[in-house]
Symmetry: D3
Subunit: 130 residues, 6 copies
């Protein structure tokens, strides 16, 4: 074994088990996804990541759907397949429609293009944006 | 001159001038920002980019504020200062509050972190996400 | 064939064969990994890459394990599966423990997050860091 | 004001002040760097980020110098000037020599190059690395 | 279904069908590749992307082969397998030889390395380049 | 001093001086640019980088102008200002026209956009590209 494999849910004990239970309850799911089972190799990482995510992705001034769409937009930009697939699913579960996802994708596409046009022309920041 | 400098607004003629006028009208601004004055070195690029942006960033199922926040999220991930500054300004002009921007930033931060945890553990996509 | 496939070890001749032999000797391995068999399509690339890597990754003030961990950290940040897997294996072969790898991953995660918080807030460099 | 400016240390109150005091004590510094003063606009972000960083960057199986070098390696790969400068300073303060930094940089350079050679040739993962 | 699957060519109607026909004619191909069948979920995206690509990738001062090599170089840097494979194929169809592709790859490799050395040493722009 | 500053040309001795002289001769320049003066802190890095660059960027099946354009395309994608500026200058010195540079920029823009559309739709590689 070179890379850590996801640990089995049935082998989770103590703090790991309690966090797994919290994930299933908050997310309203029956099985722990591979991401959490993988980082569970490091209990501190699991606990910290779950607590951070719960705090950040919950309802705030931005609604949870918007937050998920932003999360997917970043994941597309970083080419993270797992993240794109799991958070697109999360966005849909929370109410995102296909049309919303398509519009988000278009914004991601043009932003990535224009970000590079700005670099290519080495555009200086206008005074009004400083 | 090694890199193209922004062209002066007063020197814009023909199609470039018409596009500059459209940008000022649609955006409700008095001066053309450096980005458009830079890419105006290539009339086709200016026209294509403006038409694309108008089509994509206008009102759809997603409201313009959400689109701007997604645009900024991508620009942060790509480390594009000009894009972060100009589209944060655009987001605010369209109604984004400081609180919305802070929450967007937090999502961008955790998404960038978790994207890399997924790579580090080479997490396989769960069947339910396929 | 659209993309270059790894060339067969048994077909390596001349300089390519000598480099393959050197790789097997220095790395103490029996089979040439796909990376070297792929870039062997360009003898100059193979020779240059192997010589560079030997010079850089050998023992210096930093020990070889630390160098491999740094290599993996970069590869995670760039989302290169092959590189993550092969250099995690190399790190372990040279003595990296699971605990060391987990701690490296945590640093990679928080660095990727904070790098983006810095961009989001456009933090200026403090005088003491200049 | 378009982007959040660092808040003044003298205006920090309550939880923000307590965290600033903890940063100064743990880091053995007299002034709070711009990074912390910037993210202090969001108390939750400040608290979470500081707690995460303290947990991750402290002494573990990897020594703090190695962790800082890994942090800088990621920051170079992500082109984050502030992060490169501040964590190179941190690495030196914790004992990194110029020679160690130079060797880290060389590893970052070749890893970035080889990561792309792997993509270019679309190298498949060898069975022994799976 | 979590992510949009490519739509079947036989189900394309109206504007989508006309664009598919144009792609097949201009590209001199019999089947529409998965990329176009995927973005066809959004007719506007399909139309805009195809029109942009036709305008940009056609013959200009740079010949189409050079443009395809530049496209592949970007795709390698962004680690986009589909893009690397499809545009390497396009480059070959337009006349790129294996030797040209290998030389392009070498440039991509060293550029990625030196880009990071520049960041690591925070090299300031020389006056003659400003 | 936190980050290595460029070393003065007048202080270069031995191997560093010989490499500086070779750079000036081959490049037909009077002053050593900051990049080389920075990495000269590590003689091995200077020597290796210069030898690699000379080998890769010289005339091959691809002409030197095309190679420089590819180098700039990668540097734009990686947002490396120094690299964009210095290699755009190099491209012009070797014969690149403004029109060629503008067309290269357009290709870089659309490639960055389409790379992300491919990720967003998770497009599978067509059989003909495998």
């Amino acid at each position: 074994m070179k890379i850590f494999k996801p640990i089995s849910e049935s082998k989770a004990k103590g703090k790991v088990k309690r966090i797994f239970d919290d994930i299933k309850k908050i997310r309203n799911i029956k099985k722990i996804p591979n991401f959490w089972r993988s980082i569970a190799h490091n209990t501190e990482t699991l606990e910290r990541t779950w607590n951070n995510l719960k705090q950040i992705m919950g309802k705030g001034t931005l609604d949870p759907v918007t937050k998920e769409l932003i999360y997917v937009a970043v994941s597309i930009t970083n080419s993270c397949e797992y993240c794109i697939r799991s958070h697109t699913a999360a966005a849909k579960k929370k109410g995102a429609t296909d049309q919303m996802i398509k519009e988000m994708i278009d914004v991601v596409g043009i932003a990535n293009q224009n970000n590079k046009l700005v670099e290519a022309y080495q555009v200086e920041v206008d005074d009004i944006y400083k």
